[in-house]
Symmetry: none
Subunit: 535 residues, 2 copies
């Protein structure tokens, strides 16, 4: 397939070098499959000399039956003073049994002399011998010129000599790496342009994000003729990370109209799986998503101001640089005036309710939400709270839990532990139950007391548990009497939902969020029981 630019994903190799990142074999295979689906040309699966466990990956990956991506192995030039056929590093690459190897070599005089401790000429020999050796074993070679931009700035002639040595030995790609991530986009453009005049082989770019320009540097390199780009999913990598392919691909494919993926799909369909890919990798790594991440972040297409929403409804192009659905994301308009109705209708639909768009209940629900937001509630992420407001205004009711009385005592003696004991009296329909709970903190104790009372009251609530709890102070001017906003996330093993509550008293706010969370389940189950009849 004839591509304008080929992509090499190094999530599993360079990405894995980030602190806090560690992939299991299953993780690596799963990500590889997704990259293959997307149409990524090369997947750099590991560095066998550095991580012998990677050999297991190279073996198992053959069983996946990939159709688009080629698996490549990474390694460095042979060690000084060693013959290529005795070098363990190269031996490991051969053991990986791949068709293509990526070899990194030094191109900055500083590194050659001070870090490797060899002469400039020895370094060139090491590069040549390494590539010769691998080519003699039938491998294709992609050469990564480490620290190329720093090297070029300090000694451009030598940096070019390194590229030429690699090219003459048969490397098919010469990848210019901004290893320290400190190059600015205009410098990258200039240097790539000059490098292109000095060699024949196709150039590549491997950018790092230490100065916040990895994506831009990748794009500028392509503009100047690079035909091979390297990066990672979500930009994970050492220090500030690598070039984020999630941001590079839409630029190349959707904005610059380039063929960069091994895919027969029309260009506008090639990236619809991008958001899912990004989230999958975060999930496997147990890392938090970045809501502000371009293209795929939850806030990437989130419009808040009334003016923007109004404009967006008139003309989507007015505040969106790309149609979110092209990258698998969707437009989030926060609950507000005009768009509020559309958003609420959407929520109703997702609950299985048929509501007419002119139903006055929508307006009333919106009013209530606006009032709450003015007080300091932040409802965007609290789906259950929003839906409950909607259902209540639609007249859907179900027996709900009500807390008649609650009290919590927190105390500690000088050498003792902190103790919290809570009592609640809960009403549910005609029943009234008492619950007592202990905990480390007051909210913990109240939650414990609630569950004790509630478990006796309603079966459907017995499997409910808290999975996330966040507190923020809404208005810190008033010191300790500020309003506190509590966000709580629940799960019953299958569904997840979240509520938010506000009060000057953190305990009351927490209890409010807890009670709403339980009541949501009761309401939703009532809706299900009724089918999709209108309120």
């Amino acid at each position: 397939m004839d591509l304008d630019v080929e992509v090499l994903d190094t999530t599993l190799r360079d990405g894995a070098q980030a602190s806090g990142v560690s992939f299991t074999l299953q993780d690596k295979l799963s990500i590889t499959e997704r990259l293959d689906e997307l149409g990524i040309s090369y997947v750099e699966g590991g560095w066998p000399a550095s991580n012998p466990k990677d050999l297991e990956y190279f073996s198992k990956v053959k069983e996946l039956g990939l159709s688009r991506s080629e698996i490549v192995a990474f390694g460095s030039t042979k060690r000084r003073g060693t013959r290529a056929d005795e070098d363990q590093n190269l031996g490991a690459i051969l053991s990986a049994d791949v068709r293509t190897a990526v070899i990194v070599g030094k191109s900055w005089t500083l590194h050659v002399k001070k870090v490797l401790g060899v002469t400039l000429e020895e370094n060139l020999e090491m590069i040549r011998d390494t590539i010769d050796y691998l080519r003699a074993h039938g491998l294709h070679v992609i050469f990564d010129a480490e620290h190329f931009f720093d090297g070029y700035r300090e000694d451009p002639e030598y940096a070019v000599k390194v590229l030429r040595a690699a090219e003459e030995a048969g490397a098919e790609r010469l990848v210019l790496a901004d290893t320290n991530g400190g190059s600015l986009p205009h410098e990258v453009a200039r240097i790539v342009q000059e490098a292109r005049r000095s060699v024949h082989a196709d150039l590549g770019i491997h950018a790092h994000n230490d100065s916040g320009n990895a994506v831009a540097n990748t794009i500028m390199a392509v503009v100047e003729g690079a035909r091979h780009v390297q990066g990672t999913v979500n930009g994970i990598g050492e220090r500030c990370g690598n070039a984020d392919l999630i941001q590079v691909l839409p630029a190349l494919v959707l904005k610059m109209g380039l063929r960069a993926l091994r895919s027969d799909a029309p260009r506008e369909d090639q990236l619809r799986g991008l958001t899912a890919l990004s989230r999958h990798v975060y999930k496997l790594l147990n890392m938090q998503e970045n809501p502000y991440q371009p293209y795929v972040g939850s806030r990437a297409f989130s419009h808040k101001g009334g003016i923007h929403i109004d404009a967006m409804l008139k003309e989507p192009r007015s505040y969106e640089h790309v149609d979110p659905e092209l990258v698998g994301n969707y437009r989030r308009i926060t609950i507000s005036e005009l768009s509020g109705r559309a958003a609420l209708l959407n929520e109703a639909r997702r609950l299985g309710l048929e509501v007419d768009k002119d139903d006055p209940a929508l307006g009333k629900a919106l009013e209530e939400i606006k009032r709450m937001e003015a007080e300091g509630y932040s409802l965007e992420d609290s789906d259950a709270t929003i839906r409950m407001i909607l259902m209540r205004n639609l007249g859907i009711s179900a027996d709900q839990l009500g807390v008649i009385y609650w009290s919590v005592n927190v105390s500690r003696e000088e050498e003792g532990d902190v103790e919290s004991i809570a009592d609640v009296i809960v009403r549910f329909g005609h029943q009234v139950r008492h619950g007592r709970g202990r905990g480390v903190g007051p909210v913990h104790a109240l939650d414990s007391a609630m569950r004790s009372a509630v478990g006796k009251l309603a079966d459907e609530l017995s499997g409910v548990s808290l999975v996330n709890y966040k507190v923020s102070v809404v208005d810190s001017v008033e010191g300790t009497a500020s309003k506190v906003r509590v966000y709580v996330e629940f799960s019953d093993g299958q569904r997840r939902w979240s509520t938010t509550s506000l009060s000057r008293n953190i305990v009351e706010a927490s209890l409010g969020a807890l009670v709403d969370g339980y009541n949501y389940v009761l309401l939703v189950d009532r809706v299900k029981a009724r089918g999709s009849r209108q309120a």
Copy 2:
């Protein structure tokens, strides 16, 4: 002062438009002071027509006695069909009583016709009338050409007409805004270059990060001659945010050697406060820091691999694109504590203590801090907590408050108000005092009880009050039993200091921070009384 590039910070205006972001008046004043310290030319403090509460900021900010930053107000062009002197929007700007206004006007035919609903000529008139009016009232005007790059792509002649209309009416800067954030760096370079040929006034750049190129686009614009840049601290802003000044400034000042800050300090010293500024803003917004953020992130200079550490020890330049201390960050290497010691020595100096750099107390204090950070404390902004650890290890002691017993009860009956009553028994030297307090929430009640006990114990504590209080959940995986981190800021009318405390119990964490805050005053006053004798 003659700058190469002037910086306009719009954290308080464009940054405030981000979902989840909301600044109190105190927050805004605090940030303004820091920007003034840094030497930012303009601080865009708000949008009075859109947020009438902003007028309070414009009034109070005059009392800060700023010496470097000029405060500017934002607004849009007058409404269609309205006379400038009757336009509320412009009236609000005048009420802000600033010397310079930033006016945004439409430069994309799509927006003019479909969103504003006026003719292309009317739009030009609105721009002219608006700027004329403000100039007639003695204001300088900075013109923001909204959607300039999209507008230029669609109809370059009209986009230029817009700039010229603004220039002719007297706008002193013409800021090209990539409002949708979808422009790529080479496009920005080309368009800025062409725009420069079409007008005389200095150009500016206002980039958004929707395609991940905000920082790069800002740099490219400067390379092509723009002399005014806009951005926000930490890049906060709508959707994917604005250009991050934390990343732009090091590029301009340290890498490109430009004069961009109103500061007499040598260029390599101008950004040593950058990391602290970044963290301060995250803290005020109760937002999590981004460990991968270029320059200031906790991982930005974090070296994991053995090879890199080895190289780093041989030659710091080998894997670092800039010396982290130039941006107030420090190199985190598991082997070395050199930079931690330097930071503590600095704190000692600021306390007026003379400490020898080899004093074992420094090492012990560092150990304690590292242990606390591993548990989840975030000590960087809690100067008092750090200093107390240092002073304790240096053997400086003073009678300190100790809480022998505390208890707080929070309760509410169904129709009643929430009540919190707290009791504390506090020891100070040989004295023991009881204090009782009431409050809305448990921490409020405890603070009240503490002050009641403490006021009887130590005169120097009677003027101390809480001015800021923030709570964050450190590790939300454990639901309501998560660790909670409390940050408290105190003032005695002259000095301000802050403490932080951690616990699984929010009440205990809050009390800890309160007690530390009081004890800090006692210790520092003891240090002052002793003069600068070594411990």
